[in-house]
């Protein structure tokens, strides 16, 4: 339009607290009318210095710290951490443990993707699907609780294996869950493939072309939705994925075309649920008997790790894409360096491309469609000046503040 230029630009801050966001991130969008003309992202609201904490604890303690990097990806983080340590220390994980790890990772993928489908539906105002998918998600959480004892932070992985085996009865419970999800998948694919309003809100919104996706080094479902056949499970198999011949899926497998829009990214999650279900089924069938831990005694394991000197890198396909953990050990109680690169860190670069020329109404679904996991991503903060507060100083400030507040109320 001719008068588009003359319209005033308004800056709308989405976040750090906003109903569309589940975690704090600030996305400032500049709009003209309803059209987005500029984007600025600020991170760092949930930085907790986890890597710093990890280098002050022994590797076994750090597994549980790694689990708390993110509430959703709490198998893939400790898995990547354990694999990095195993690589550094040349530990060979028993074969059965590899299969068990695969099962846990795929269960996590199902729960994470169901969560995403609900969030995506909520962003476009389709709350019935939100409630349906989250109700369906309860089933996999129940199974995870049955297998590990916890719904969310599972505490199941150990350096050199896993902590608990899956018994025959538990395996039959998992199969029961899979047959339940067959029904859920049928219903969800009917909804997401046929519903007009979902297509109205997501088709051709936030398009990332294959070229852009390659340029920005996108990972995971976000990259696959743009037609890049890229999957850590296929390219650099870990755990039992080498035996399972995982193939990177693209929207071509279900809708027959690739547009790289929000719809494709949503659909990617849907077909990956199906893929995960098949992988779990195969794992249960092909899982060999045997030990599940490289070293039963934790004391001896710690002693072994203490003598290790070297680096370890592990790549894991988290539900959101390729996750990298880097570890350096220098014959010490604690790792001397630990670096996490979460998939969302790579995918957030796409937000600028995605939001370009979107309407304001599209911003929530377009941002949500890369399924950003902010607490995974917050690995650093940039402070303008360095202030170090001692414990005494902090206490003093607390007392001062309390006095001031008391003075106000009196």
């Amino acid at each position: 339009m001719a008068n588009e230029k003359s319209k005033e630009k308004v800056c709308i801050p989405i976040g750090p607290v906003h109903p569309a966001l589940k975690e704090p991130i600030q996305i400032e969008v500049e709009i003209q009318g309803e059209r987005v003309v500029g984007t600025n992202i600020t991170l760092g609201h949930v930085h907790r210095g986890i890597e710093w904490i990890g280098t002050r604890r022994n590797p076994i303690q750090t597994i549980y710290i790694a689990e708390r990097i993110c509430g959703i990806c709490n198998i893939c983080h400790p898995l990547a951490f354990c694999q990095a340590i195993e690589n550094a220390a040349n530990i060979r994980v028993p074969e059965r443990a590899e299969y068990l790890r695969t099962i846990y990772a795929e269960l996590e993928r199902i729960h994470s993707h169901l969560l995403f489908l609900g969030v995506a539906a909520h962003e476009i105002g389709f709350d019935s699907i939100l409630h349906y998918t989250w109700l369906a998600r309860e089933k996999v959480l129940d199974v995870i609780e049955m297998l590990t004892g916890n719904r969310i932070t599972k505490g199941i992985l150990m350096i050199g294996g896993v902590r608990r085996d899956i018994s025959k009865e538990q395996a039959s419970k998992i199969r029961e869950m899979l047959s339940y999800y067959e029904k859920v998948y049928k219903k969800l694919s009917k909804i997401f493939l046929d519903d007009i309003t979902i297509k109205m809100r997501t088709r051709d919104i936030g398009v990332v072309s294959k070229k852009d996706a390659l340029r920005l080094c996108l990972v995971g479902p976000t990259a696959r939705a743009s037609g890049i056949k890229k999957d850590t499970r296929q390219d650099f198999p870990y755990a039992a994925y080498g035996d399972l011949n995982v193939r990177a899926l693209t929207p071509l497998d279900i809708v027959g075309e690739i547009r790289g829009d929000s719809y494709d990214r949503t659909i990617m999650r849907l077909i990956e649920i199906k893929q995960s279900m098949e992988l779990i089924e195969r794992c249960l069938k092909e899982m060999p008997e045997g030990p599940i831990l490289y070293e039963q005694s934790l004391q001896r394991l710690l002693l072994n790790l203490k003598s290790v000197s070297g680096e370890g890198v592990a790549l894991v396909e988290a539900p959101r894409g390729e996750l990298i953990h880097y570890i350096r050990m220098e014959k010490n109680d604690f790792p001397s360096a630990w670096k996490v690169r979460a998939p969302t860190y790579a995918n957030l670069h796409a937000v600028g491309v995605i939001l370009n020329n979107c309407e304001l109404a599209d911003v929530p679904i377009a941002v949500a469609s890369i399924d950003p996991c902010i607490s995974c991503t917050n690995r650093a903060v940039i402070a303008s000046e360095k202030i170090v507060l001692s414990q005494e100083k902090l206490h003093e400030l607390c007392v001062e503040k309390t006095r001031a507040m008391k003075g106000d109320s009196l």
Partner: protein, 332 residues
């Protein structure tokens, strides 16, 4: 000599206003329960809207520093009063209280004031979220008002041709001559199309999904309502509930004016008639607002505008043409 009729009218009006408020909120509670059940949830208790209102009345009323204060505070009152005055003009199974003082056109205006007041209040709040919400509210208002005017004028025209009634815009006119009985089979389809288009306007009027774009929680954080709190928010909350019930009542008065005494053997003009009317309004709300809101996603503002101006407007226009054709064939 005191004029008792005025006192009588005022007393009646007060009763109707409070009854309408109560029923609107009750229907809001029923809606939340029904939608929750459709979404496999348990849902809040039936009286949750009353609890919400009570809570909001106790809360602090925050007015932002950047707001135009008198306008910001005035608009919720304007919105609620205009929404609720509507009920004095609608025949509740018995002639309306202010029957001879108002007509359909006035009712149309009364229905348009709450969204306008909301938009003005939102602009006055000085928030950018509210400003976007207000723009959307106005775009939506312009789009569905078209459809409503077609419906109203087809009715008036139909009545003016077929009956000797001089006051064709009166709300009691459809009650005296139900429009369905004035036309032949083609016109019947025409009126059905008008009904469909009016029902399609309902989500827009009531601010429900798919047309809750002015509030759009996940997009613009409740949009027009974002800066309102406490007493003001309670008034706007009631306005939304009353608007929904008011528009449903208008649909019933226009399209389903029959009284219960026609179908079952009860004495005429008793308290049963308003109850029957409320049941009809509840059914209209169920099909046009509650059911739809659980079954679709939210429109974008341009999609909603296109939906109302092209699709729904064409349906209404087709309805009008069919009625015209019907009357022409039957020689009026």
């Amino acid at each position: 000599m005191i004029d008792y009729t005025i006192a009588y009218t005022i007393a009646n009006a007060l009763i109707i206003i409070f009854a309408a408020l109560f029923i609107s909120l009750l229907f809001h509670g029923i809606e939340r329960k029904i939608v929750a059940r459709m979404q496999a949830r348990i849902g809040p208790p039936l009286l949750q809207p009353f609890i919400d209102i009570k809570k909001l009345f106790m809360k602090e009323n925050i007015v932002p520093d950047s707001a135009v204060k008198w306008l910001f505070n005035l608009m919720p009152i304007v919105a609620l009063s205009s929404a609720i005055v509507l009920f004095l003009y609608i025949p509740f199974g018995m002639p309306a209280i202010l029957n001879e003082h108002g007509d359909l056109i006035l009712v149309l205006y009364l229905l348009s004031i709450p969204p306008l007041a909301l938009a003005i209040g939102a602009f006055a709040s000085g928030s950018s979220f509210a400003a976007v919400g207000a723009q959307r509210e106005l775009v939506l208002l312009i789009s569905y008002e078209f459809v409503l005017s077609v419906v109203i004028f087809s009715f008036a025209w139909l009545l003016s041709v077929c009956t000797q009634n001089t006051n064709v815009f009166s709300l009691n006119a459809p009650a005296l001559n139900p429009p369905w009985s004035l036309v032949g089979p083609i016109g019947f389809i025409g009126i059905a199309l008008l009904l469909i288009s009016t029902l399609a306007v309902m989500p827009g009027k009531a601010g429900k999904i798919p047309a809750d774009i002015a509030e759009a929680k996940t997009e613009i954080a409740e949009g027009v309502l974002v800066e309102y709190s406490g007493f003001n928010l309670a008034l706007l909350y009631m306005t939304q509930a009353v608007r929904t019930f008011g528009f449903a009542a208008l649909i019933v008065a226009l399209f389903f004016p029959w009284n219960a005494s026609i179908f079952i053997d009860i004495p005429k003009d008793t308290v049963l008639e308003p109850i029957f009317f409320i049941l009809k309004a509840g059914l209209v709300m169920f099909f046009s607002a509650f059911f739809i809101s659980a079954a679709v996603a939210r429109f974008k503002v341009d999609q909603a505008a296109r939906f109302y101006i092209s699709t729904v407007f064409s349906i209404a226009l087709l309805g009008l043409l069919l009625i015209l054709l019907d009357l022409t064939l039957r020689g009026f």
